[in-house]
Assembly symmetry: none
Homo-oligomer: 197 residues x 4
DNA sequence: GATGAATGAGTTTTCATTCAT
DNA sequence: AATGAATGAAAACTCATTCAT
């Protein structure tokens, strides 16, 4: 008995997700050129050929993931305000990204640091400006925090930018198992914006 | 009349340096797989074939650069004490790496985050433990700083580790020209260890 | 609908055989370095890339063929006894190798005479000692032949060795079409061991 | 004090001989494609570049050696008659080639069995027909030997051809050190033409 | 005459993408 | 929809040949 359209659609959606998840995992760590399609296929437990039913090319899969990453980042920033607590407590939440969030960060990092990515990816990243998505979003929060005396004084926009740069940098470190790097605790990172031990 | 041995050696040294410098520049930014030999050859203004007079393979060139990077890092750490000024001032110097230093950092980062590098490189990095090269080297400096009240209190070894992690992370960001990331000024980074604005 | 495992296995076996047969034909005549992969690919009527689905490298393909050649030689020697007729008649059979057998001989010859073959191939050949595979196998046959007066007297082991050397040498001549060399008839070769016209 | 023309000529002749000798040694064993110019240069203890003062190309060096080899073979055959003793004793002498002679044999063999040699070499070999150089030369000797009862009866030209084929084959075996092959003694080989133990 | 660094054409090898089933 | 064999273009690597000294 053949599957009906609905069931087929469900299979398609599942497969697509499988591939995207696998792609994120591998691309984030190894970059576009460092990733072979066979790796993604293996990770997603499907055949290499099937990838091409869902994505026209390696580049297209990569770009789709970039789009997801940017969307994710946007949401994350927009949700900061909805978090409970004082400005500082909200920021502390930001510092504690989940695993998937970290992978998205790494992916964006790959685009920023490699020249081998498709032009489209570059453009997407450019158009997502930290200015709009991050600084504008967090400015009010920082000003509020400074007024409360929770955050260090100084130009809030610059402070956000630096803080976010450090955060991004740490995300992309992909703290390895060998313990060479020690991920600082949230409070230590927050010192950059609080200026207090 | 053929060149004498001294002249030849000079040519060889120059050429080798040229290649190493070009390799560092390209590998640091693009990683091992993202780098094509033609890029290095172009950057070094030599033919692709000549690369193989000086290095047996792409991998060997890469490994040689890793060795240099580790040596450089080692020296850098050992020289901190010789810098003038208080412990904090010495640290400030550390934060202001030169361009080449940053490239070496990025190269080491490439090895840590990619699985595509030769086994030998992995081993080298492993054997260079942050424990020995960095933490042991800086421990006394931090204790001294804490006694002087310049540095925040707490386990000095852990503090160093976190500080160095942030430093490494920033180095590897390869602050791009598009201004997406803003590299924090030295004092801002130092807040992590001073806990003061 | 994808092919089932059995069909796939059949395709793989066929293709592998195709490649091995083509490799034997070209390697035997031209040696390892004299053979370009494009020649084998053309001879096997497949693309160059496909070779790498079946063999990791040119060397691996070569080594696989050497293993086959040695196995073939071993079988050949072990089968001599099962042939019908007197010792001399059995030997006459040995002298009339088939075409594939000759190619295998030539291949082994390539390893013996070239230094450019992979170490593994050298070891395989070494481990296959003529002593064990040939002389030990044929000794009883020769002694029997001498007792019957069919074969010349003298140290049978040495006689075998010389006989086999001549046989090998002739095999590897690859009697060319231009008629420069004339392959002696079986009886002429057998004179070496019979000592009779 | 600059060298005079005579001294220069002497140097030139020496160098040329050096190169030819080295080329013969390496080409004979490894064939044209299996031989790198660097091998010959090393063997001749000169630089790679110098080769091109004496020979226009690798091919030209190879062809020159083929010409020498053919000349040598021709002389060898013509000298058989001048050797002392009965026909059989003259033949026995032929069987005991010197080392250089063997190398020339191997070189000719390389041309016969490889397709990668320059067209010119092929032509040279073709033009040197075994018919003329060998069979015609030895026919009278064989007939004489048959009349004396030293040599087996039958078509002398065919007998020569077979005998020479076996001889060539053995020459090209390049009996390796591992003792896999045992070069038969002269008398054993001569059995082919005498038909007697 | 002599050297060895330098080049580039040709070969091996990799891998995204296509295709028959 | 799904598979994995097959292809070919591009990358790594080799080596005969050239060239500045």
């Amino acid at each position: 008995m053949p599957l009906n359209e609905e069931q087929l659609q469900q299979i398609r959606d599942e497969r697509r997700d499988q591939i995207l998840k696998a792609g994120l995992k591998v691309f984030a760590r190894r970059g576009l050129v460092g990733t072979k399609l066979s790796m993604i296929a293996t990770e997603a437990r499907i055949s290499q050929g099937l990838l091409y039913h869902y994505f026209k090319s390696k580049d297209e899969l990569f770009i789709t993931l970039i789009e997801q990453a940017l969307q994710e980042l946007k949401n994350e920033m927009q949700n900061v305000y909805k978090l409970p607590g004082s400005p500082l407590e909200k920021l502390r939440n930001l510092v504690q990204f989940d695993d998937e969030g970290q992978l998205y960060f790494m992916l964006i990092h790959q685009v920023r640091t490699s020249d081998e990515v498709p032009e489209k990816a570059k453009e997407l990243i450019k158009q997502y400006s930290m200015e709009t998505y991050v600084i504008d979003q967090l400015e009010l929060l920082f000003i509020e925090g400074q007024e409360l005396g929770e955050l260090a004084s100084g130009d809030p926009r610059k402070l956000i930018s630096c803080f976010f740069t450090v955060l991004s940098a740490l995300m992309t470190l992909n703290i390895s198992e060998d313990g060479a790097y020690q991920m600082p605790e949230a409070d230590l990172i927050l010192r950059i914006v609080t200026g207090r031990p």
